[in-house]
Amino acid sequence: MAQRRLSWDWYPGTIPDNVVMDETAYVETTFSFHLYRSQESVGVRIGRGASTYLGTMFDAGPRARISLGDYALVHGARIICDAEVDIGPYALISWNVVLMDTYRLPLDAPLRRRELERVALRSPRSFAAPVPARPVRIGANVWIGFDSCILPGVTVGEGAIVGARAVVTDDVPPYTIVAGNPARVIRRLNMEEMSHEA
C-alpha cells in the first residue's frame, strides 16, 4: 500500500496501513498515530464526516480496535486502548479527555515492578504486561466536556452529556447529564427535543 500522508500535516508521519478512513473524514495530523501499535486487521476505523484534531492520540496497543462513528468529532482526546474503544456517530469529544480501556500496568505492586524493570530495556519503551482491558463504549450523540476521564469498562449511553472535568467510573444512562468527580447524574434530557433536521 502506498504511504498515506496528509498534505496539510506539520508532522512528517503517515496514516498506518490498518487505519480505515472514509474519504470524507478529516485527520488534522498524523502525530495522532505517534503511539499507535495496533496489529489488528483494522486498528482504527474513522467514519464518514468524522474528524480528529490536534492533540488526539491513538495510544493503541497491539490488539487495539478503535472506531469513530460517522460525524464523530474528536477534538484532542487521549485514547488509551488495548482492546476496544468505540465512539458512536455524532459524538462530540473535547480536549484533554482521556478514554481508557486499560490501566496498562498490573494492580499488584510486585508484578508492576517486574514490568517497569522490563520496559526500561525496551525500545520504544512501551508497556506489554498482560493486563485485562475492558472495552469503553461511547454511544451515539454523546457530548464529553474537556478534561474528563472515562475509565475502563464504562459505557456512556446514547445522547448523554458528560460535564467538563468529570471522572466517569460507572455506566452513564442514555439521555442524562452527568458531572462531577466521581460523575453523578444531575439531569435527564428531554427526549421531545430529539427531532432534528438531518
Binding site: 505492586a109 517497569l116 526500561a120 519503551r125 476521564c149 467510573t169 468527580n181 466521581p182
Partner: protein, 190 residues
C-alpha cells in the same frame, strides 16, 4: 538484565542536560519542553535515579526548587511544579497530563494577592513577592497516579497507593489505598 541497556548513561534525548541535573544509568528524558520552565539554582536541583522513562515531562522547578526521583519510574507528560521539594520514590508511575505541585504559587489573603500581582507584572521589577505557602510533596514507592490527576502541596502519597485518573489529591493518601474524586476520597484497597 539485557546487556544492551546496561551501563548507558542517562540522558535528555532532545538536548544537553542542565548542569545541576543528575540522571542515573539507562534513564531517558524525552521531549523538547522538559526544561523550558526549569529555573532552579540548587546544586543539585534534580536527581533522577536509574532506568527511568520521563516522556514529555515538564520539570518546572523554580529557583529554590529541588526534586528527587527514584529508580524505575515511568512518567508520561506529567507536569512537576516545584517551588521547594518533591520527593518521589522507586517504581512510581505518573500518567498523562497529571500535575504534582508543592505550592499554590500565590498567597491566600486578598491584599497579599494584589501585592503579588503587582510584583509579578511587567511593572514589578525587582519588587519582592509576598511569602507563599510551600510544602514538600512526598510520593512513596510503587505509587500509581493516573492521567489528569492532581497532587497538591504538603501531600504524602503512601507506598503502593493507587490514585485514580482525574483525582484531586489534597490530603495524605495512606499506603495501599485507592483514591478517587475531587477532593480525592478513599474508595478501596489496592
Amino acid at each position: 538484565m539485557s546487556d544492551t541497556a546496561e551501563g548507558k548513561p542517562g540522558c535528555w534525548v532532545n538536548g544537553d542536560l542542565p548542569a545541576n541535573v543528575r540522571v542515573g544509568i539507562n534513564s531517558l528524558i524525552i521531549g523538547d519542553n522538559a526544561f523550558k520552565r526549569f529555573r532552579s539554582k540548587c546544586q543539585p536541583a534534580l536527581v533522577i535515579g536509574s532506568n527511568c522513562t520521563m516522556d514529555g515531562v515538564h520539570f518546572a522547578l523554580c529557583e529554590e526548587g529541588h526534586a528527587e526521583i527514584g529508580d524505575f519510574c515511568y512518567f508520561t507528560n506529567a507536569v512537576l511544579l516545584c517551588e521547594l521539594d518533591l520527593r518521589i520514590g522507586n517504581y512510581v508511575v505518573i500518567g498523562w497530563n497529571a500535575t504534582i505541585a508543592d505550592s499554590d504559587f500565590h498567597p491566600i489573603g486578598p491584599a497579599k494577592r494584589i501585592a503579588d500581582a503587582i510584583a509579578c507584572s511587567p511593572l514589578g521589577k525587582g519588587r519582592p513577592r509576598p511569602e507563599i505557602i510551600r510544602e514538600p510533596v512526598v510520593i512513596e514507592d510503587d505509587v500509581w497516579i493516573g492521567p489528569n490527576a492532581t497532587v497538591l502541596k504538603g501531600v504524602r502519597v503512601g507506598t503502593g497507593a493507587w490514585v485514580e485518573a482525574g483525582a484531586m489529591v489534597t490530603r495524605d493518601v495512606p499506603p495501599r489505598k485507592r483514591v478517587l474524586g475531587n477532593p480525592a476520597q478513599i474508595v478501596g484497597d489496592v
